[in-house]
């Protein structure tokens, strides 16, 4: 299965993605969001390099007893 990084989104792609969440973005807003979204997508794609195996998600910090200070 291809696990490639996603391409940088175009403003049109930003508008379509926003529509899917019922968030109306006009072209001006899409052009404002696009560079930042491209940066965060690139950062998130970098996490694919981590071998996660069966690691479960850590929804919030919960200390184990063994982690605690004595």
């Amino acid at each position: 299965m291809d696990f490639a990084n996603r391409p940088s989104p175009t403003p049109d792609a930003v508008i379509r993605a926003a529509n899917a969440t019922a968030l109306a973005l006009d072209r001006t807003r899409a052009e404002a969001v696009q560079p930042w979204l491209s940066t965060i997508y690139s950062a998130l794609d970098s996490l694919k390099a981590v071998d996660l195996g069966e690691t479960p998600p850590s929804f919030a910090f919960k200390s184990r007893k063994s982690d605690r200070a004595s």
Binding site: L23, R29, V33, L44, V50, P57, S63, R68
Partner: protein, 466 residues
């Protein structure tokens, strides 16, 4: 010396002895706020008369010998993300100008129960979503940012408008402004302080804690704020110790990890020199400085933003669809971008977070190091119009990323971290170093910070913004 120049501990001692009254102390702070507010704009609301009424009530109890604790009669400020009955919780946003609080946030209630006098609510970067707090200026140089998002609290405490204040920290928002304003800032372990009644930025990364001028004052305030609260699902039911009890016991024999990666990469030479001198002082105080390689360091920022963006957008989902034009441009853009992060990316960030947590736990397991010591910020306060840093190796980094980068590991892991001032640049701007400890080991990091603080006199310096 004015009363507002005292430390909180000194003021508490003089209140207890009857040498000064809580009203005199509060009047001194309110006058100081009046002198500095034109230059700083630290406050959304100054409570004035209400503060004096609270001070008078505290004064009566103190005069009768009923001392509630180390904050009884002490003027403090509260970040305007925290609900306070009868006042708007604006989050420094036009979106929230009409958001009246009908009850106190848990931390506000705890301050009131401790007899503290709340002199006002301080500016935050809008909804805590940024590191500059554009409403407010740095008291050491008003051409510079105070840091954020708890910039109003930091500016006021540093300028002697009050003795300590509440901040929140999702990606460094206690420690960044504390470091940039020359203060001690203590982000406790996730779950140690209740967030009930505090406007959220990112539920899984949010923390609440104190900013103060000394380690002792921050530790005393944490003792007031900490404790279980069933209203906060992240809250942890553990006893609250006296965080000052072992504060002066020294650090001989402690093993302190100095990161060989991540923290000292991309950093201003002057700030680095000050932090290195602080680590040398810790070594001279008897600690062993141990080189350590931080696990998965390249993932910290991606995990921080991968969690914060979608959680913040979820919190603002309704307002973004009904009053988007009331948000500032930067926050609106972040919120819109956060809507477009797939759930699979969010879950991946949560899974990497688990590996990061395990890696840090291994570093501080028995036989490992007792804490990590590292720079709090990679440079002193940026000028308000500066968007980028250029590091000595030529690399460029946005100011937001640069400041968040050094703070976010303690948010991603939930570990406690305290920043303490470690000197001033040639331009007269403060920087700090942070100590990150084991879960719920706030007393240990207080002791390390205090051991360093005892060797210097940075907290005696005061800015005079007018």
């Amino acid at each position: 010396m004015s009363l507002y120049d005292l430390t909180m501990a000194e003021a508490a001692a003089r209140l207890k002895s009857g040498d000064i009254s809580a009203v005199e102390l509060t009047e001194s702070c309110l006058a100081r706020i009046g002198e500095t507010e034109g230059a700083l704009n630290a406050y959304v609301t100054v409570t004035g008369e209400e503060a004096l009424e609270a001070a008078a009530a505290a004064g009566k109890e103190l005069a009768a010998g009923r001392v509630r604790g180390p904050m009884h009669g002490i003027p403090v400020c509260v970040k305007d993300l925290c609900d306070m009955t009868g006042l708007a919780t604006t989050a420094s946003s036009k979106v929230r100008h009409d958001h009246m609080a009908d009850s106190d946030a848990a931390v506000v209630a705890r301050l009131k129960d401790a007899g503290a006098v709340i002199v006002g609510k301080t500016h935050t970067h809008e909804f805590a979503y940024g590191i500059s707090t554009p409403t407010t200026r740095n008291p050491w140089n008003t051409d510079c940012i105070p840091g954020g998002s708890s910039g109003g609290t930091a500016a006021s405490v540093a300028a002697r408008g009050c003795f300590a204040g509440i901040g929140t920290d999702t990606g460094g928002s206690i420690r960044i402004p504390a470091a940039l304003c020359g203060l001690v800032g203590l982000k406790p372990t996730y779950g140690r302080v209740s967030r009930a009644g505090v406007t959220s930025l990112s539920w899984s990364l949010d923390h609440v804690g104190p900013l103060a001028r000394t380690v002792e004052d921050a530790a005393n305030m944490l003792g007031v704020l900490a404790g279980y609260d069933a209203r906060d699902p992240g809250s942890v039911d553990l006893p609250v110790p006296d965080y000052t009890a072992g504060m002066n016991d020294g650090i001989a024999g402690l093993r302190l990890g100095r990161p060989t990666n991540f923290y000292f990469d991309g950093m201003d030479d002057e700030a680095r020199g000050l932090v290195e001198a602080a680590l040398a002082a810790l070594q001279a105080a008897g600690a062993e400085i141990v080189p350590v390689e931080l696990p998965l360091a390249k993932t910290y920022m991606a995990v921080e933003f991968g969690l914060c963006l979608p959680e913040a957008s979820a919190y603002h989902e309704k307002e973004l669809r009904t009053r988007a034009d009331l948000y500032g441009e930067d926050v609106r853009t972040f919120l819109e971008a956060g809507e477009l992060i797939p759930a699979t990316d969010y879950i991946r960030a949560l899974r990497v977070r688990e590996q990061i947590k395990q890696g840090w736990a291994a570093l501080m397991a028995p036989g490992g190091v007792d804490a990590i010591v590292a720079p709090t910020v990679p440079a002193a306060a940026a000028r308000v119009d500066r968007d980028m840093f250029t590091w000595p190796d030529g690399e460029e980094e946005t100011t937001t990323n640069a400041y968040v980068r050094h703070s976010c590991p303690a948010n991603v892991t939930g570990l406690p971290s305290i920043t303490v001032p470690c000197g001033f640049t040639a331009a007269g701007l403060p920087v700090g170093f942070q100590t990150i400890g084991r879960p719920y080991a706030e007393a240990d990091i207080v002791r390390i910070a205090r051991s360093y603080e005892a060797t210097v006199d940075w907290s005696a310096r005061a800015p005079d913004p007018r």
